[in-house]
Structures are given as C-alpha cells and as structure tokens.
C-alpha cells in the first residue's frame, strides 16, 4: 500500500504541475515569512544583546567586585564558574574632556569579556604598556598607532599620578562617551602603591579585585553568585558593610524575556499562521476539489478513508519538502538583509553596531516547525472533505451554484454582473477566506500608514531643540556629565565666534546655576524636607520631601533649584500654560523684578503638565535667599511646560538632575539672574540660522568642534530630525513588508481561485459560449467576479481600518509620546485601488493563459 501511495503521490505530483507550483509557492511563502521573521527576531535580539553588552562593556554572565586578592583566588576555584577574568580598577583618567576613559589592569580573559582586546597590536606586557580605544587615544591627543606615547593622569588613594605610557595595541570603541584603557599585570606589580586594598576603609576601588565570569550554566546563577560571595567572607547585600562584595548577574546577557514582547511575538506569529492558513487552506481546498472525482474513484475501488487521508497528507509532505527548504533559504537571506535596516532604526545607539545574525539552527528549526504546523492545520479540512466524500457523489461533483440559473434566460448583458455575484456564493468558505486575507492586507497597511503618519517628528525635534542650533560645552552634551560645574560653562568667546557666522540670528545665551552656586536658595510653601545625605560627586546636600522628590540644597539647606537666565526671545519660544501667557508682557514684568516664571516637566505623551512635579501655583510667593538671608520675594507669574531643550539640551538632562534635582525650574530674565548670582555662567547658546546659510553653519560647527575647539559641542534640529525620521522609516519598512506579504498572500489566493475557476468551469464556460456568450462577455463576467472579491475586501478593509484606527491604534499611539494621532484612510484607499486594478487584471490574464481553443475543443476537454 505504502509503495502504491508513493507511486500515486509521485505521479500525480508530476501531473498537476500548475497546481503544485502554486502549492509550493504558498508553502515557500509561509516558510519565507516565518524564517525572515525569526531571523529578524533572533538577529535583533542577538544584535541588541551584543550592543547592550558592548554598552555595558561586558559579555560575561555576571561579575564580582570589591574582592581581596585572597577572595579572588577562592572565586577562581568555584565550580559553577567556567571562566573568570581579572580586573583591577584604578580610576577614570582626569585629563579628558569629551570622552571618558576608565583605566584598569586587566588580564586577557577579562579584556576579551569586556570587548577591549586589541584589534591592532597586541596585549600589554611591559609595565608601561597600555591598550586603549581609538577614541581614547585621540582624546589624549595621540594617534591610534602601536608605539604611540600617551600621558595619563589619574588619582588613586588620594594621590595624583601622571605617567607616560606606550600604546601596545588599540581597538575601536563602541561608545563615543566612554571607553576602557588597560594595562597588564606587570603594571600592577610595578605600582604596588596604587593597588593597596583599602576598600573596607575608604571605599577606594583602586586595589580591589573584580572579576567578570562565565558560568557553567545560567540557571540559578544569581543565587549561586550570592552564596559564593558569602562563602568567601563577603556581604553581598549591605552596600554599607565593610566587607561588601558586589555579585551581580549580567542581565544584559541573561536577559529575562519580557512578557509584552513575548505576547507581541506570539500574536504576530498567530497572525502569520492565520494568513498562511488562509493561503494554504485555499490551495489544498482547490486541489482536493479538482481531484474529487478521482478520490471518489479510489473510494469506489475500495480505498479506505484512512488511505485517502494518507495520500493527501503525503502530498502535503512532499510539497512541504520542496517548499520549506526553499523558503528557509530565501527567508534567511531576506531576514538578514532586512536586519541592519531594522536595527539602524530601532535606536540610534545600535546604529554603529554591525548587525548580523548567524544561521542558527533555532531559526530554521523554529521556522520549519511553524511552517509545518501551518501546513498541517491548513490541510486538515480539505483532507477531511476528500476522505469523507461519498464515492457516488464524487462522480457528480460540481460546485453547487446558489440559486437557480434563471439568469441565462434573461438578456445576458445586463445580468453578467449578477451571474458573477451568484458564482461567488458557490463556495462561501473560500470566498470568505479570500476576502479576509485581502482585508487583512488593507487593514494592516492602513494601520502602518496611520502609525507612520502619526509619528510626530516636529514634536520630537522640538523636544530636543527648539532652535535651529545650540552650542554648549562638550561636557553639557555628555550624557554622563551634563552641565553641573561652572567649569562646564560655554566660553563667551565661542559665542562671539559662532554669532559672527553669516546667517546666525535670534541668538541668545542662556545662563544657569551650578552646584557651586550654593549661596542662592529658594523657599516656597508646603516644602517639608528631611535631613538628607551628601552627594559624593557634587558635594551637595541632597534632601527629600515626603513624596521622595529630591532637592539639591545650598549652604542654608534650602533648595538651590535649577535657575535659568534668559533673553525674551527664549521665553517667547517656550510653552506658557498658566498665568501670564503673553511672553512679552511676562518678560517685561519679570525684568522689573515683579516675579518669576516656573517651569514644570511635561508628560511627553499628551504634553500636559506633570502633576507630581507641579509644586508651585501661579500667584504663590517664592522667597529668594542669599547667604541664608531672604533677599527678595518673587510671585509666580506664569507656568510653562518645559521640555528637554528648556531643561538642558534634548539629548540629556543630567545637569539639572545633578544640580537642583526635582526642585523648581525657575526662569528669570538675564538682568535679574545676573543680579542674583555672583558668577553667572552661560551653559548654552541657542540660535536660528537663515535657511540659505544652514549648511554652511553646520559645516562650520562640525569643523569647529572637531578641530578648533574640542571643548565645545553642538546640536542641530537637522540631526534631531534625521534621528526621528529613522523611526518612521522603520515603521514603513517593517509594516510595509508585513502588509505586502499579506497582500501577496491575498493576491496569490485570488490568482489561484481565478485559475481554478477557469479550469473547473471550462465546460460551463464552453456551454455558455455555445449558447451565445461572447468571449468578451465571458471575460467581463470573470472580471466582475474577481472585482467583487476585491470590492468586498476593500469595503471591509476600509471600514475595519477606520474602526481599528480610532480605537486600538489611537490608544496604542496615544501611549507613546513620539506620536500625535492623526487619522487617515489614505493607505487603505490606495491599497484598495491597487487591489481593484490587480483583481481586474488577474482574470484577463488567467483567461488568456488557460482558456484557449475553440468552443468545441473546450467542450471536449471538459468531458
């Protein structure tokens, strides 16, 4: 039996070439879909993990810190650890500006784990040899060359060191802001004074042993690490304890699966399974129906239901055997090609990582499994139909036409469309499936279009920068630093140089207080603060209120707040919400010392004022203290919603958090600011540039910050816009891809149905033609039929796209601040029009290809 089934399968395989081609195509498409999706998914995950590992600077499973030499020896012996690197931190170099350099002693294992193995040159051997990143070397004024000499400055155990070193190797850093410079064990042995273990007393990292580890298995790692820390006499829980040992799992490597992402992935997979189900179901349904007489014959001769089922299943396996490998192959390359595009647009941070994915068996197994499941599910029903067909019925099987064919009697011309419509009813299930898959395409593309259209680029740009350009010191734009100290101020000279550029207009310097300005403090109602703690870095006393808001406080223990001094043009650009909303009048009043403007952080989603931070109402009096004495009282005149640009600069807000903390943002006119503060410093120079000159100015600034004055950095609205545009590209790309796939599946379905209809109904067509239907009329009838599918799909698609748009899409986009919901049906309409055109072309082509020859021939073929 088996051998006979095999023969049958093989032979009928060769016979139904067109049908099998379509089936293989459908299965291939499914496999391509799943493979590219899993490739993209796994590739994104891999690349993101790698990127995050690079950002974190470690691809280890976890790390131990603050160990003594003895503890480190114990750690190396632990049986759950496969590899343990050695890192002996020294400190950050102090002779840097824009690029932070951490200086450590590493062994080769650690270097490998933390992405700082030299890609050029070799690992340091001599005591005065180092390896550093290209950026670090440039920062130190050296060229990335083996043998280059650099001088490094750092502090350890309260002693400053200044050492000349030789570059033995270098590598390309992945971060613009921070990289590692390292020396070998010889350096430690040459400088025993740096590496005294004093962590238990003064918390100095220099001299401690740290280790990034690779564990044997990832399961239960955090517990094992904790136990190991305790075992070697450390305390992993209490940061204050003398014997504190940090033992943490690297959650970048061992990332817990986020439930939302898992659900999203599952939903997407389900959607694809469904889409492919529709396609494959139809293909097999049609195939079975075409062959129904034959199954009837088999059943008559004595083939059992089980054998019929086996036969079709075997065909499905054969088709899958061809389709799946092809699909896996194509899908993998599509996925790999699409990966960089997606990665690049996911976030700018990942842009500089080479996105790649290895052909892991997980991808292929997963995709093949999903495809196989889809094929299996889709063939259940057709298989059942074929097996259950009564032998005698099969011989007479013709798809039942709904209603009586009275149409033929009436005049043909007028009724062709009605005839076509009644043809749709022959197989309701199939009609519904085709319409659904086409509808899905319309709806999905419309959702994508809505999302892309709703992406509010101007909002994002405005949040980052309100003017065309802004120039600050390099530190202010450094996400790790921010504008904190007076020394981070922007030199007046720079402002002079920049403002002298042709086209520069509306330029205004903006003053801001720093952690050094502790003499000016503020007080307002309802302010209750606790004792507070001293921040080690800034030296400020940080105090908390009952809502755990924190405030940097000054000499008299009152909040120093974030205070800005600005020109009227800057105030005019801000988003005034309450009180005096006329910028000019407000500035006039403020300039006369009659009050102050308060800024409150906005809720980015709806740009409403963040209620948690809204601590002072309009009309409330804010008392200004200088050196502990009340200097003046300023009523709140207006309240503004502040964005990133108003706080510091759109890409970072480290400075205000370091200085005033959650304290009020107070905006004062330049003159009042200068009266209050002894040493007013400028943190930013914001300006617009005439359109014609923007390129020149950009070129000038680019050259200026790179070559003339590395202490300065700039941001332009153009770069901010480009960043935002990337997101839109991604949405268009990914969404478009998905929508196209659905569309393709739908159209394939349509083609399949049309071709089948023509093949099956040859005899009927020939009969119609023999009673006087012209070929033109026949073509018109088929076009009508096909267009009805598209029309139904378009109608349903547009309606459900509209419904979905104003409900789910609106809610989804509403929760993301980058979007402003903007309703559109244009993509749906566009797609519908395309579908209509395609649906009109398909039957014409199908008839041309498959309905040839004279009527007599047609009649004979059908016999």
């Amino acid at each position: 039996m088996g051998e006979m089934l095999k023969t049958l399968t093989r032979r009928s395989f060769a016979a139904g070439r067109v049908r099998n081609l379509i089936a293989v195509l459908a299965i291939t498409l499914t496999a391509v879909l799943f493979t590219s999706i899993t490739t993209i998914g796994i590739g994104t995950e891999e690349s993101m993990t790698l990127t995050m590992q690079m950002q974190k600077g470690s691809k280890s499973d976890g790390d131990f810190r603050n160990m003594t030499a003895k503890q480190f020896e114990m750690l190396k012996e632990a049986d759950f650890i496969e590899l343990a690197g050695l890192r002996m931190p020294v400190n950050f170099l102090s002779n840097t500006n824009r690029h932070n350099i951490e200086f450590d002693v590493l062994d080769d294992v650690q270097a490998e784990l933390t992405f700082c193995s030299p890609t050029h040159g070799k690992a340091p051997v001599a005591y005065n040899e180092i390896v550093a990143s290209e950026q670090a070397l440039r920062e130190l004024g050296a060229l990335p060359e083996v043998g280059a000499e650099v001088t490094i400055e750092f502090t350890a155990h309260n002693r400053e060191y200044r050492l000349p070193m030789v570059v033995s190797g270098w590598y390309e850093s992945t971060s613009d802001q921070l990289s590692m410079m390292w020396a070998g064990i010889a350096f430690r042995d040459a400088h025993p004074d740096i590496f005294q273990f004093t962590y238990d007393q003064d918390r100095d990292m220099a001299g401690t042993y740290c280790s990034d580890i690779i564990a044997v298995t990832a399961s239960g790692l955090s517990k094992k690490m904790e136990q190991e820390a305790i075992h070697m006499g450390g305390n992993p829980h209490d940061m204050e304890a003398e014997n504190y040992i940090a033992a943490t799992v690297n959650f970048v490597t061992n990332m817990p699966l986020e439930p939302e992402i898992a659900v999203m992935a599952a939903l997407l997979a389900l959607l694809f399974v469904f889409c492919c189900y529709l396609l494959i179901y139809n293909v097999f349904d049609i195939a079975v129906m075409q062959e129904i007489r034959r199954y009837g014959l088999y059943r008559t001769i004595g083939m059992s239901k089980r054998q019929v089922r086996k036969l079709i299943n075997r065909q499905a396996v054969w088709l899958s055997g061809i389709g799946i490998p092809i699909g896996l192959f194509i899908g993998f390359f599509i996925g790999r090609a699409a990966l960089p595009v997606i990665m690049a647009s996911l976030s700018e941070e990942y842009a500089n990582v080479a996105a790649d994915v290895s052909p892991s068996p997980v991808i292929f197994l997963g995709a093949a499994l999903l495809t196989a499941i889809t094929v299996f599910l889709s063939t259940r029903k057709p298989v059942r139909v074929a097996a259950n067909i009564s032998p005698i019925e099969a011989f007479r099987y013709v798809e039942n036409s709904s209603g009586k064919r009275r149409e033929r009697k009436s005049s043909l011309g007028a009724d062709i469309s009605r005839l076509a419509l009644s043809n749709l009813g022959r197989n309701k299930r199939r009609t519904v499936f085709i319409i659904i898959s086409l509808t899905l395409c319309v709806v999905l593309l419309n959702c994508v279009g809505t999302a892309a259209g709703s992406l509010d680029i101007e909002k994002q740009v405005a949040f980052k920068i309100r003017t065309d350009f802004a120039v600050t010191s390099a530190a202010s734009m450094n996400g790790m630093k921010g504008f904190v100290h007076r020394e981070d101020a922007l030199d007046e000279q720079v402002i002079g140089t920049v403002s002298a550029q042709p086209g520069v207009k509306d330029g205004s310097p903006i003053y801001k207080n720093t952690v050094e300005d502790t003499d000016v403090t503020y007080e307002w109602e309802h302010l209750v603060l606790d004792e507070g703690i001293v921040d080690k870095d800034s030296g400020l006393n940080i105090r908390f209120d009952e809502n755990y808001m924190y405030f940097g406080t000054g000499d008299d223990r009152r909040p120093i707040c974030n205070v800005y001094g600005m020109e009227e043009s800057v105030v005019a650009r801000m988003d005034l919400r309450e009180g005096e909303t006329d910028a000019h009048a407000l500035y006039e009043k403020m300039a006369q010392g009659k009050g102050v403007m308060v800024g409150v952080d906005v809720n980015r989603v709806d740009m409403s004022i963040n209620a948690d931070l809204d601590m002072a109402d309009v009309g409330e009096i804010i008392t200004v203290y200088k050196d502990g004495k009340p200097e003046r009282e300023l009523p709140v005149l207006a309240k503004a919603a502040v964005n990133g640009d108003d706080q510091e600069i759109g890409i970072t807000c480290n400075g205000p958090l370091e200085v005033g903390g959650n304290g009020l943002y107070l905006y004062l006119p330049t003159n009042i600011y200068k009266e209050l503060y002894e040493e007013p410093v400028i943190y930013k120079y914001a300006f617009n540039v005439e359109e014609s000159q923007r390129e020149n100015v950009t070129a000038f600034l680019e050259d200026y910050v790179n070559n003339v004055n590395p202490e300065v950095n700039y941001l332009s609205s153009q770069t901010a816009r480009e960043d935002a545009e990337k997101t839109r590209k991604t949405i268009n790309f990914v969404g478009g891809l998905v929508g196209m796939i659905f569309g393709f599946a739908g159209v394939l379905n349509l083609i399949n149905t049309m071709v089948t209809t023509i093949l099956i109904r040859r005899h009927e067509f020939a009969t119609m033609q023999s009673i006087g239907m012209t070929r033109k009329q026949l073509t018109r009838m088929m076009i009508f039929e096909s267009v009805y599918y598209a029309l139904g799909a378009s109608f349903l698609g547009v309606v459900s796209a509209a419904l979905l748009g104003v409900t789910i899409i609106r809610n989804m986009l509403g929760s993301m601040w980058q979007y402003t919901f903007h309703f559109t049906l244009a993509p749906a309409v566009c797609v519908s029009v395309i579908l209509l055109i395609v649906s009109a072309v398909v039957p014409v082509a199908a008839l041309w290809l498959f309905h040839k020859g004279s009527i007599v021939e047609q009649l004979r073929v059908a016999e």
Partner: protein, 221 residues
C-alpha cells in the same frame, strides 16, 4: 445458490414532493456463477440498483444480502473493504488512474489491501485480455477498448465474488462492444465469477444467462 438476494428494496432520492423513487420495491436473487444482464431505459433505476449491490448507496428500505452478508449491517469502512475484496467495478468511462501504468492500475485494488499479487493469475489475466505487452504503458496511450480491458483486469484481479459492470461498452461501436462484452463473459466464465452487467444493448444482453428488465424502479416480468 444465490450470491445476491434482494428483498423489497426501495431507494428514494430527495424529500417530500420532489422525492424520486429510483427503486420502488425490487425482489431479486442472482445465482452464483451466472451472468445476469440488467436492461432498462435510462432513468429506470438500473444504475442505482447496481450501486446498492456494490455498497455505494444505502437503501431507503429493504435488505441486500451479498455473499451471505447483509450490507446494511456493515459500517462505512467495512463497506469499503467489502468493495475492495468482493466487488469488481467496471464503468462506462473506465475510470483508470491516469498517473499509474496499466500494470499498476490492474494491481491497484490489491495494493489497497496490502496484498501480494498472485503472479500466475496476473499473467494469465493479462494474457487473456491481450494486455501483456502494454503493461508499462499509461492509460492514455491505449484505445478505449484497451482501457476497458484494463478495467476488466482490475475488476478480476481480486477474484471478487461479483463483477458489476455498468454499461461497460456504452462508449464503443457495435463490434468493439461485442468484443469487450465477450471478453467479460469469457473471463467471468473462466474464473467462475458472477457477472452483473447493465446494458441497453439487447444483443449483448443475449450473451447473458439471464436478463432482468427494469422499468420505473421495478422488475418487469
């Protein structure tokens, strides 16, 4: 000894007003090893009768006993196996499987039952039916007569108890009809099989041991 016993058989199609009484009370016994011809106008119910004997239709009323087994007591799967082992079908339009060679077509019912073909018997049948040099060909390469001979061989190969031939010569000219019917009769005689043949050709019916006339779903005496 009767191989087929039909008692008060009725088969109605449709319901209510549009009921078609295809068979309306037939009592019939067919003797084992005999050649019975069923003749009647088209629509008289002869094909329905044959399909009921072959286990393809379930009767509305009455009993059909074939080779000692009451067909209405069999499940659908059992009916399938019944057809496979006890009945050989021959149709007007041959109904060969186009993808299989002549040899494979003939052996098809055996393969369905997972049986090893009896080589000697197979050779004899193909020789008698003049197919021995056409075994490797495909049905479309053969003439109508050749295809029908293949169908006869397929019906014979399982040594079924009865052979049901539904107008086996319907699409042939008079001479070929005689040929094919003759072969059928000869084969049935040679292998002691019961042959029931539907025909509208009286001349062919005369080959039969017995002629049953059916009119309007009843047997005309």
């Amino acid at each position: 000894m009767d191989i087929v016993t039909i008692h008060n058989l009725k088969k109605y199609f449709g319901k209510g007003a549009c009921t078609v009484k295809a068979i309306d009370g037939i009592n019939l016994s067919i003797e084992k090893g005999k050649f019975t011809a069923i003749i009647g106008a088209s629509g008289s119910g002869k094909t329905t009768l044959m399909n009921i004997i072959g286990g393809l239709y379930e009767p509305t009323e009455g009993t059909v006993i074939v080779d000692g087994v009451n067909l209405s007591e069999l499940t659908e799967e059992e009916l399938t196996v019944f057809r496979r082992r006890k009945v050989g079908f021959i149709f007007q339009d041959y109904n060969l499987v186009p993808e299989l060679t002549i040899k494979e077509n003939i052996l098809f019912p055996l393969k369905l039952d997972d049986s090893r073909p009896d080589k000697v018997f197979f050779e004899e049948i193909t020789r008698v039916l003049g197919l021995q040099d056409k075994l490797a060909r495909y049905p479309y390469m053969l003439s109508g007569g050749g295809q029908q001979r293949t169908a006869i061989a397929r019906a014979l190969i399982t040594k079924p108890a009865i052979i049901l031939a539904d107008e086996p010569t319907g699409s042939f000219d008079a001479k070929t009809s005689q040929n094919v019917a003759g072969l059928l009769k000869m084969a049935a005689e040679a292998y002691h099989q019961t042959l029931i043949m539907i025909t509208h050709n009286l001349e062919l019916a005369q080959l039969a041991d017995r002629v049953v006339r059916i009119q309007d779903g009843r047997i005309r005496r």
